[in-house]
Chain length 158, copies 2
Amino acid sequence: MFSYEPIGIIHSPFNTPEGMPIQPAGAKDIRGSVEVDDKYEDGLGDIEGFSHIILVYHFHLVTGFDLKVTPFIDDQPHGLFSTRAPRRPNPIGLSVVRLVLREGNTLQIEGVDVLDGTPLLDIKPFSPEFDCPESARTGWMEKAKGKVQEKKADDRFK
Amino acid sequence: MFSYEPIGIIHSPFNTPEGMPIQPAGAKDIRGSVEVDDKYEDGLGDIEGFSHIILVYHFHLVTGFDLKVTPFIDDQPHGLFSTRAPRRPNPIGLSVVRLVLREGNTLQIEGVDVLDGTPLLDIKPFSPEFDCPESARTGWMEKAKGKVQEKKADDRFK
């Protein structure tokens, strides 16, 4: 067992999952902020050079999980680990968001697809060289391509 | 505090950090495997459709952290959260690796930049639409671009 303590909190306009965008790609204009605990502020040095950051957070409102899930962007069930559903054995979320501005220990961000009050576990700088392999195949998601902007979350993963 | 339990284990040719590649980009031909616990095997359904997966894992050999670190690919110190250094308040690692083959609960992978025996916390399907924003700026990393293949890890983050 590993125990992690939040390093801050994510603020967004979303208080419930219903109607929330799916993935940053579905939330391009949605603004939010990340408030990093004061004691970690020095760790944010030079982050303003990055246009995008990876937020690693805890899905704090979910409980339990199913190994087969029907995601928002499909009508067929898939293995949990082939989906980005929040109900997982370890409910860790990842979102690549745009970093608009840093003010001290607060980061203004854009492309926010997380609930207000979500506990932040880590921030990593996004690098295409590290994080984006060329020509990726995306299985069942292929046919949902471009549809993520139209879809919204509902309460199925509460 | 959040407690997570490993869902499996990552196998790689690396028993110590010294000489290990930095990021999957520096480990393109390195093969390894992911052994997911039997009880989660059903969660792997349809994962073989994805050419790449995101491994979320616990850096099990590190202790503590510093808020300013000098990364392997630079000679200047940077704020911890602007780096991918393993010593972090919550030592969670992310690697996008190529999925070569699934055999039951075992995934053969390529592009492995993690230590043998690393505890696995989660697997997510990689999707360029979700995970790769266009035209990202990468701050201090710009000048290290393309150098990650030449660099190897050492023991500085033990």
